[in-house]
């Protein structure tokens, strides 16, 4: 028997397919996803300014695309992801100060970030509805 056969299995690197699902892992993946959402949001803001500067027709066309069912769905997702990203920035700042690494604390702050994203998006869109944005 060779020496290699006696070596016990080595621990694996963190990976989507081998890691047990848990809240901090989900937050890490969501944070990566929120970067793409932030990227798209920044481009949409630039596009909005361009449409506004281009005049009435361009602005109405741009807003019609954003106001379509698919556009509204994307905007709702971007709202949730942006608010999650902002909350996550606060979480990371505490990490930078050396706080919040206790597993229970990390789980709680992770859940809080997801809650801020989801509940915040529902509140924002509820406010938009009550302010007459869809009527």
């Amino acid at each position: 028997m060779s020496d290699a056969a006696k070596i016990p299995p080595r621990p694996l690197s963190p990976h989507l397919q081998v890691w047990r699902w848990h809240i901090t892992m989900a937050c890490s993946i969501l944070h990566r996803a929120s970067i793409f959402a932030l990227y798209l949001s920044a481009l949409l803001v630039a596009g909005w300014a361009l449409a506004l500067a281009a005049g009435l027709g361009a602005y109405q066309g741009y807003m019609a695309v954003l106001g379509s069912p698919l556009g509204l769905l994307v905007l709702f997702g971007l709202t949730a992801m942006l608010l999650f990203n902002l909350a996550y920035n606060v979480r990371q700042t505490f990490w930078d100060l050396g706080r919040g690494f206790n597993p229970k604390t990390a789980d709680a702050t992770g859940l809080l970030c997801i809650a801020v994203g989801l509940i915040g998006a529902v509140l924002v869109w509820g406010a938009a509805f009550s302010m007459g944005a869809f009527g």
């Binding site: 932030l38 920044a42 506004l52 990371q92 944005a133």
Partner: protein
Amino acid sequence: MSLRTPRSRALGLGASHHGVGHFIVERASGLLMIPLGLWGVWSALTLAGRDYLDAADWIAHPVNAVLLALLLIAALVHAKNAMQVVIEDYVTRFTSKAALLLLNVSVCVLAGALGLFAILKAALTGAF
């Protein structure tokens, strides 16, 4: 045979010493995004469902124009640096990585230039 010590050789390899600057810019822009992002969400709320003239009036206000420009720049700087890390993490082939990194910078710089020009034009020349 080289007379250089292993330490001397190692000093010229590895990280190119941009890491700390990247990290600080990412943290600073992330913190700046908190007030600016919340203001942006609030502004979008106030403009949702309003028409072109309302939007033109809104951007003609100096505070709105300046804050929108700051929001755009902070978001693009933050997003560019974040996307750069994603590319560096997942793309290993040198040519693909270099091409994507250049594309990332180009998209963000172009969006920033066009966006800033549009904000200034809309804010200063008003609605026609």
